[in-house]
Amino acid sequence: MTEPLKPPRAVALRLHRKLMPIWSPEPGLRGWLSTNNNNNIGGLFLIVATTFFVIGGILAMLIRAQLASPGSAFMGPEAYNQVFTMHGTVMMFLFAIPFFEALAVLLLPGMLGTRDLAFPRVGAFGLWVYIFGGSAVILALLLGVAADGGWFMYPPLSSAAFSPGIGPDIWLLGITSIEVSAIAAAIEVVVTVLRYRAAGMSLSKMPIFAWYMLVVAVMILTAFPPMILGSLLLEVERAFGWPFFQAENGGDALLWQHLFWLFGHPEVYIIFLPAAGMIGTILPVMARTRLVGYGWVVAAAVALAVLSFGLWVHHMFATGIPHLGLAFFSAASTLVAVPTAIMIFAWIGTLWQGRPRFELPMLWLMGFFATFVIGGLTGVMLAMVPFNWQAHDTHFVVAHLHYVLIGGYVFPMVAAIYYFLPLLTGRSRFFKLGEIAFWITVPAFHVTFLAMHWAGLLGQRRRTWTYDEGQGWEVINLIASIGAFAMAIGFALVILDIVVNTLVARPSPRNPWGAGTMEWAVILPSPAYGFASIPVVRGRYPVEDDPDIGVRIARGEGLLGDTSRNRRETLVVSTLHGEPSEVAVLPGNSRLPFVLAVATSTSFLAPVVGAYLVAGLGLLALIVVALIWAWGLGSRVDEGLVDAGHGLSLPVSSEVPDPPGWWGSLLLLLADSVHFGSLLFGYAFLWTVAPNWPPPSYLAPGIIAPVLAGLGAVVLAAGPRLAASAILHGRSPWPGMVMAGMGVSAFAAAAASVVLARPDPAGHAYDATLWLLAGHVGLHVVIVTIMLGFLTARILAGFASPRRIGETRIVQLWADFTALTALVALGAAWLPGAFG
């Protein structure tokens, strides 16, 4: 990569012309349904998320119009409750998370020096599920049947008794489907960051945004499952009367709060950390220097992520918790200020070290500093229990969370859009509307939310549709509303500015900001294939170290610059050092993700209107499409080592023991294990805390079912192992496959014995929990059975060989997980009866 520049420009153009047919989407509307290229998927994600931001903003204006004066007749309580519920829901679930996912999809491959994300079709699937789920939630609002119990949907208010309509059902199922989409994206991000990078890009040389996204993606995998479980419990309670949250039948409404905030508090950091990653990316470039304290910032990001999981109860300080519990969570809440401060000081140090230029992205970052620090300090105030009790459920909390979320997330994201505009559109800003928009938006924000702090300190409650005259809140609310409308005008101008500059501004030169990271080494806008060849990097700022690297890559002088195999290839590297280890073959255009998303969304949303048959058909379609999808992977012949360039011969991913699909499964099982852990937590919580326990009787395990489960665990764990070993050594896999089949059968029988022994899950929360535990076993038995059937067909069709054992190892992973968790689940179900 360091030889002098000799080959003519025509070499790069020839390579570009060869790569484009391989990587381009199909033309026209068809192309939008079948594309899985990160540029298209990320762009669509961005547009849809921005649309939801506009919808959420309009809802905010309706709220402020209502609260501008006391006793307002603008909205009645029914409409207001739906509006404020949907404002929070839209902003948190439909805008904030998808927006940074969009940026990650768009930018990560470029930053990491790879051509696309690890699972492009999974990314496309996630996009469509998000669009369908989000649209359902918005449609409910337009029809006036949206949820109205607040964005956190606390029972008993959200239970069937007090919210009998379909609004909460749409919320629970729609949002859960969006969470499935987020988990899909998170798996894609983790595998990409860990394995899909430029050659030589060790973990210590990764761009800081990639570190942040790695941390955030792992957080999504561990924070969303408790929320998915909570939604499942509430929906099952609403639909079938299983009393998880009904105190009279052994349930407890506070279980929801625990599950919700186990998700909800990390969620705040899931939203903040990508913005922090953007700040760490943009600020050094704007300051014409390098990020100060890279290692400290990485450590702070990891620390903040993990600590954030220890704060969930600080949203429950007013629920009657003993002082010691309050002190635990108050201490943990103050602790998060430390890693946050480390990041802030690293950024200040970067500014101090460099020569800042106040371009538009930098202005928004200054807006971030001014706002987020205030939001952080009011957060420390709220971490103090006595103050929290005073401010709980007042507008002070509303103001605090907007300082954190708008100041800490939206402002840096606007900076990011302006910063990456040349990369995404190929154009440099020409029209200067953005500066005006900034000077309207940021001051207006502070007018709005400083006033709201004040109203909160004077005692104004949140989530109330109006207030009486004479309480001293009239002028404050009027000021807040005027500020809010000015802020809305500011944001509208930002969107207008971006649209106008996207459509008609002048073309941008390559690397207009003089950045040092790999995404700026491509031609603008980034072509479908990203890099014409995979770069070899030796530092954290490869473009700064070698300004000609982009030209060399375009000429095919990196790895995989040969297009003769005529397929989408990219490099997989070792996790730590970034050494080339295999060649991943990425899928071409396909409508399968779209069709799978239709099937998934149908199975999720049909129960809202009681169409359980349609939901069942959707589920069946989901399984069929997923099998068709999986069947298209792999190969019937061994390809052996392929030429990757630079004298390297590497295996293709389908011929290594741990292919990308194995990594994806591992991460999905991480989320699954958190889901299962949350279920056990819920069981223990109800047991310990809920009234009307113990139940009238315990499940008696007997002898046969536990013996079946024990034997099932042994053969289920051993079977796929034996099959994989047999394939590896050229022997028959069938004994192992039969053993695995016996294992799942044994677990199916054991789980069925639980359900048959306790036929009424609606009677007591204990019985409902037993059904859930048995349901966990049953679901995984079904999944592993399908996988075993699929693997059998694959082996018969010639997709397995001693070089191609990856699929068998994936099944082995699922079988191990099923054996272990089924044993624990059934043990938890049987233990009380065995001793009591």
Binding site: G320, L324, G325, A332, P691
Partner: protein, 128 residues
């Protein structure tokens, strides 16, 4: 991958200890051990909590020592330094967040008097 797991270990262990301690407090209060007299004039519940704090803090200290002495492997400069920083953070987090268990009554709060539920407006009769 081992390096990534090692990196996340110190604070993950803290999180598990933190959650376990909170859960233990729940069991102690629900079982009434906070009012059950034990040795040295301390309630059994309090002794149990203190023992758990000592074990959890000791575990963090041991992890720090193992990482510092490179006994858990990992000699890559950047990753080792970052892991060490996080191990120190884990110990500090343990000392800071577990300290209340050594100072405050185990179950007192709204409706609680010296570990015994006496009524209140905050919720049901059991520990939250």
């Amino acid at each position: 991958m081992r390096e990534v797991i090692r990196l996340s270990m110190p604070l993950t262990v803290w999180l598990v200890s933190f959650s376990a301690l909170y859960g233990l407090q729940g069991f102690v209060c629900a079982a009434g051990w906070a009012a059950s007299p034990g040795p040295a004039g301390l309630a059994w519940g309090r002794l149990l909590m203190l023992a758990a704090v000592v074990v959890a803090t000791g575990l963090q200290a041991m992890i720090l020592f193992l990482i510092w002495s490179e006994r858990l492997g990992g000699h890559s400069g950047f990753m080792h330094r970052t892991t060490l920083t996080l191990a120190v953070a884990g110990l500090v987090a343990a000392l800071w967040t577990f300290a209340p268990a050594a100072i405050l009554p185990t179950c007192d709060g709204e409706g609680w008097q010296e570990g015994v539920w006496t009524g209140g407006t905050g919720g049901n009769k059991m520990y939250r």
